[in-house]
Subunit: 318 residues, 3 copies
């Protein structure tokens, strides 16, 4: 899509040299031919190093846009990003295009749906009511139980088991806000990649990335009713017990264990081999792995037990 | 249905003048031609002002039934209400009646189901495995992703996006209890109305009202795995983050924000522009809006942070 | 399957007298013709009394294997159990065999799926998108709402109501772990039995047993988004409010009430007529029933209220 057309569609004046824009990404991740944005001046250092071909930014930041990158100036760049994101949003379902490729030995129920351009490996089982969106990929020997939904463009590895009701690739929760308190959708044009040997329980929700990819790495085991925000990255061989939740952009190292009903805030890093007790509430990075944490706010689990003992004494005191 | 037939079906003696009863509602909301009930004497003032044509009540309250309203006297009126509710419960699926109306430009997958008497607007997308119950209404430009369920009689506005696995209109959680500890279903004969421009994430559950309507107002944005009890009313432009829960009959004002895994008890009122931090537990009305609350029990978030700092000091003390 | 073939498949030397093995069970529950296992020496007393025909155990325990029971010795018996469990895992879907039996007056939507060998009672309603796995049984007058999934071999009683998106019989969350931190699936070859007069809300997850049966007893009422681990036993007439979770192998007595977002750890016993307030976290057996508990760690609810009052005073102090 031409940059001039984007600018016009989102209501920003533009009369520079036109160019073709292929998509949107963050300042750090954008490549040539992509557009990016800077709303919070805190990230201005990322602006200076961006490879994006154009950037939505406030007038105060426009001077820092690097040479060869076009500044699209507006005082609400995040809101303009939301409007632009819609322009790159694909159809939710494609009714034309190449039929799906189904590998040897695979079973696809007549009551399942496999979209255009999907690629199904060998010995895959897709049970009744399962949905595989267009251009999705399902690896060899994987089972999609009844009523699983895999949105378009998402990828599931080999030897995975996805239990009923689980949703892979629903939209991440991202909105810009108007001054009147309305919310404008940021279209979630990324995808989800689930690597090999992952098992996911029933009725989980795994959001697609806003840009790029949400990852569940090799060998993870996920229980029922677990929530994954957009752009999370769950390290290999991690274990997530029922009803826990990982907020957007958080990255777990390998072999992290999250107890039942535990949760993390967004944009955190958790060191490998960290264990969180049930109901843990993680609101900061965990830099030291190999330990067990608990409580909300989070502390080492043995500290939490000590605190509870002190509270029990407080309760008995006058 | 004739009042005499209802009385007979639920085992209450009745030999007054007969009349036609169209449904059941609360004392405050019932109109002429409806039946109501009083179990807890605390609400006796509502009895005196009711417009209901008949009331299930204990003998001790019968004297307060207003003129023109028939008292159906029983010492377990709530249990009798449960029995009566079944008489007004419609079929879960209708196999006869007018075919659904499908608006211009709409896509209804062959693997979706649209019930009798449903009304689908223009440019709607109903994806494979989605279910639209009989007499449900779906507004223009709305998307029902795969495996969404909309029960009968529910209404969804224009430009809504409902992600996979979400259930709109399941029965509210209401039972009367016998002296032996058994539970008798109160049939949930109300519906759900979702207004325009609402987005709802994956695998949410939104219960239909016992009487009347469960509302999700204009412009609300709901994340994944969120729970809505029957008869809640979610104010416009509210934002509910993943895994939070709103118990029955609670009313949120406009632009309320509920953090992840937060929850409210039932029958509460929350002032507009209130923000609840993640894991908040709301057990009382929030009368002062525009503030951020947290903790369980609930307090202002800055108080909660102060309390946690004090507990950290307590932990370090001898 | 021959014991020699099992031993070969899982890589354990065996040259004793061969015999036919019908399945796997715990030391306490195994019968003749079954294989069992001992990993944690804490349970060695169960080994001495087992009726299993063969036992996977470490060399240090082999001497305690009773006469007539064959020891299969390996230093990682739990990992070997995982490998053996796969040998007894049935197909996720059977495409051959006897057609389902459908009782008189039942409605099965053309858009539902009923597997081979299933038995559907009288006046059952199976709505669009519902899935009934092979050899499952559904009792008279039961309703499966749209997009409910009942995995193979599970049983649902009479007069049950299962709301949309609920999953009955997904795999329990059980894995053995290698020294490299990988997880090896323990196939969940048990089932779920839901007794008569149970109602289950939307988007719940009820895991099948690893061995034996997960039970939800007569007259239970379950709200939305509730989690049941494998091998739980929920006592009759219990009430579980939205978003609560019961971890594996926990047994609730009759008429237990679990408030919203409450949870139990695994392998617990809860006395009959116990009530847990919302957000309770149960980590030990509850031996005294008829009381109300709350908090995490758990205490009597009135103690929890007292503790919160003390904390409020602490907050106000210097």
């Amino acid at each position: 899509m031409k940059l001039s057309a984007i600018a016009k569609a989102i209501g920003i004046a533009f009369d520079g040299e036109d160019l073709e824009i292929s998509g949107i990404h963050t300042l750090d991740e954008a490549n040539e031919g992509q557009i990016s944005f800077l709303d919070n001046a805190k990230y201005i250092s990322s602006l200076e190093g961006t490879k994006a071909s154009a950037v939505l930014c406030k007038s105060a930041s426009a001077g820092k846009v690097p040479a060869g990158c076009i500044a699209l100036v507006d005082e609400e760049p995040y809101l303009k990003l939301a409007l632009a994101s819609k322009l790159f949003s694909p159809e939710v379902i494609e009714t034309e295009g190449a039929d799906a490729l189904i590998g040897e030995g695979s079973f696809v129920s007549e009551k399942a749906y496999v979209g255009k351009g999907a690629v199904i490996g060998k010995n895959v089982k897709i049970l009744p009511g399962a949905f595989v969106g267009c251009y999705a990929k399902i690896g060899d020997d994987t089972i999609l139980h009844p009523n699983v939904t895999v949105y378009r463009d998402c990828e599931i590895g080999k030897r995975c088991i996805i239990h009923s009701g689980t949703v892979v690739g629903s939209d991440g929760f991202g909105f810009a806000h108007t001054k009147l308190g309305e919310h404008v959708k940021i279209y979630q044009n990324g995808n989800v990649v689930i690597e090999d040997d992952v098992e996911i329980g029933a009725n989980c929700a795994i959001d697609r990335a806003v840009f790029g990819t949400t990852y569940i790495r090799k060998g993870c085991k996920i229980d029922n009713l677990v929530q994954f925000g957009h752009n999370v990255d769950i390290g290999e061989y991690s274990i997530l017990v029922a009803q826990c939740g990982i907020a957007g952009s958080t990255r777990l190292g390998r072999n992290v264990v999250m107890g039942g009903q535990s949760a993390t805030a967004g944009h955190l890093e958790v060191a490998p081999f960290t264990t969180f007790a049930a109901r843990s509430g993680v609101t900061n990075d965990v830099k030291v792995g190999g330990k067990t944490y608990g409580g909300f706010p989070l502390m080492e689990q043995r500290q939490w037990l000590k605190l509870q003992a002190k509270l029990a004494r407080l309760l008995k005191s006058n």
